[in-house]
């Protein structure tokens, strides 16, 4: 029988939520790593029993955990993230040079084909890779060799490399997104990188259309059409039809185009989901109504999805890695909130129900579709 396994990272531990393909009754297991911040956990597409988790606190630093049995048991893996090359600086909030310092792993992206290969996006912004199942990590240093790197500045949450998108049709091509530098792309497996931010417009920059400096919150693609990218920026929802070479705004009729996550339907490449947030200082839904917005036209025309979601007095946030879709025939959509709710829809967003209501603040949600 097929089913799903939802992996939830929270401020105080990890939770594993499982259900059959009906997605009505859920088994909730956790917390794993109780008391630790779990920025992200994700399963290997090549081996669903292989899971990786980023575990961190201000007291004890960064740990990486690995499970080989679908999350029943975990093993502590390598946690040495050493920057390559000579020490260098990026811009600090006040504009002064600041040394690159490792803080934490924001995002783990397992290879689609090899369970032992995994990428880690870290703060301060850099991309690391492990090819031995997370025992050891090596930086892909060419990203920080880019001419613009000394000018990169942290966003409010730190200077994090928070999104890693692997092109399923081209193993040499990787996209990363950095707050607040923007999107970078490599076409040679990390040997060289270039910014792909043309078309982005950010009023917080002296040159609002600068090549680098945009606060990109997340990017997403459909695996069948990797040249089409969708982006939730600090403000603006954007689309690219040429693998990031150029972007155009598709915010359309959204009540706010600020937000964090963006996801694409598993079977409909033009169906996209966002969660509008009121503003960059008011991190909650407009009007106190929690609404997922769905576009079936690849942007511009959006419909509010509200059935089963709180439509009054709701002031939670949904973080950038806290939304995911499964690949069952009727596509499931999941998201977690800063209030500890994890909502699921088994009908592509038409109706919603909470799986759990009272977890610690949710930092990430991923889902595995199990055969």
């Amino acid at each position: 029988m097929s089913g799903v396994r939802v992996l939830v990272g929270t401020r105080k531990g990890a939770f594993v939520l499982t259900s059959d393909e009906r997605r009505e009754r859920w088994d909730v297991r956790g917390p794993e790593f109780a008391g630790w911040e779990i920025y992200h956990l994700k399963g290997s597409p090549a081996d669903p029993d292989r899971l990786y988790a980023s575990q961190t606190t201000g007291w004890f630093g960064q740990l990486i955990q690995r499970s080989d049995d679908g999350g029943r048991t975990w093993e502590t893996m390598g946690n040495e993230f050493g920057y390559e090359g000579m020490p260098r600086t990026h811009q600090w909030y006040d504009g002064t040079p600041h040394p690159w310092e490792f803080a934490r792993v924001w995002h783990l992206e397992p290879s689609p084909t090899d369970p032992d290969t995994i990428y880690a996006g870290v703060e301060d912004a850099a991309l690391f890779r492990s090819v031995d199942g997370a025992k050891t990590w090596q930086e892909l240093p060419a990203l920080r060799d880019h001419d613009s790197a000394p000018s990169w500045q942290p966003g409010a949450g730190g200077m994090c490399l928070h999104t890693v998108v692997l092109d399923p049709s081209n193993p040499e091509r990787i996209f990363v997104a950095i707050s607040a530098a923007g999107v970078f792309r490599t076409d040679d497996a990390g040997k060289s990188w270039r910014p792909v931010n043309r078309g982005l417009h950010s009023e917080g920059l002296p040159d609002s259309e600068a090549e680098v400096g945009h606060c990109v919150h997340r990017i997403a693609m459909h695996r069948s059409r990797p040249e089409v990218m969708f982006m939730q920026k600090h403000w603006d929802v954007m689309r690219s039809d040429d693998a990031g070479e150029s972007w155009r705004e598709v915010s359309g009729n959204l009540p706010s185009d600020f937000g964090f996550p963006i996801e694409v339907h598993a079977h409909e490449p033009e169906t996209v989901y966002v969660v509008p947030i009121k503003s960059d200082s008011e991190h909650y839904p407009p009007d106190g109504r929690l609404r997922v917005y769905r576009s079936r036209t690849g942007g511009n025309e959006w419909e509010a999805l509200t059935e089963g979601l709180p439509q009054k007095d709701c002031y939670v946030n949904v973080l950038r890695d806290a939304m995911a879709v499964d690949s069952l025939e009727s596509c499931g959509v999941y998201f977690g909130t800063s209030g500890g709710q994890v909502y699921a829809s088994a009908d592509a967003g038409d109706t919603w129900a909470p799986i759990v209501r009272d977890l610690p603040a949710v930092m990430s949600v991923e889902v595995q579709t199990l055969a």
Partner: protein, 98 residues
């Protein structure tokens, strides 16, 4: 024999339910105690000292015989009472949370 008391989260990480007992060749110092601890429990590497600098993590303290030894040099000999196991070497997490 050296006794080491760890914060609860590090005991959980190392699958320990009590204090650690370590046998150390030569002089007992902060460095030799932590080296031996990390050799016995490699999952603790990087959680007490930074990988690259070997400096104590900012929110941890080392207590010895009722005194804060956090700012002692890492190769300063520990008191005999710690070296003989009469008193523990304590790794303490800073209190936080308001």
């Amino acid at each position: 024999m050296i006794r080491v008391v760890l914060p609860v989260h590090l005991r959980t990480l190392a699958h320990l339910d009590r204090e650690v007992e370590l046998h150390i060749e030569g002089q007992a110092t902060q460095r030799s105690v932590l080296d031996a601890l990390e050799t016995e429990y490699p999952m603790l590497r990087g959680t007490i000292r930074a990988h690259d600098t070997q400096e104590r993590r900012a929110f941890l303290r080392f207590f010895v015989c009722g005194e804060d030894w956090s700012h002692e040099l890492p190769d300063t000999p520990l008191p005999d009472s710690v070296a003989t196991g009469a008193e523990p070497f304590m790794v303490i997490g800073a209190m936080a949370g308001g």
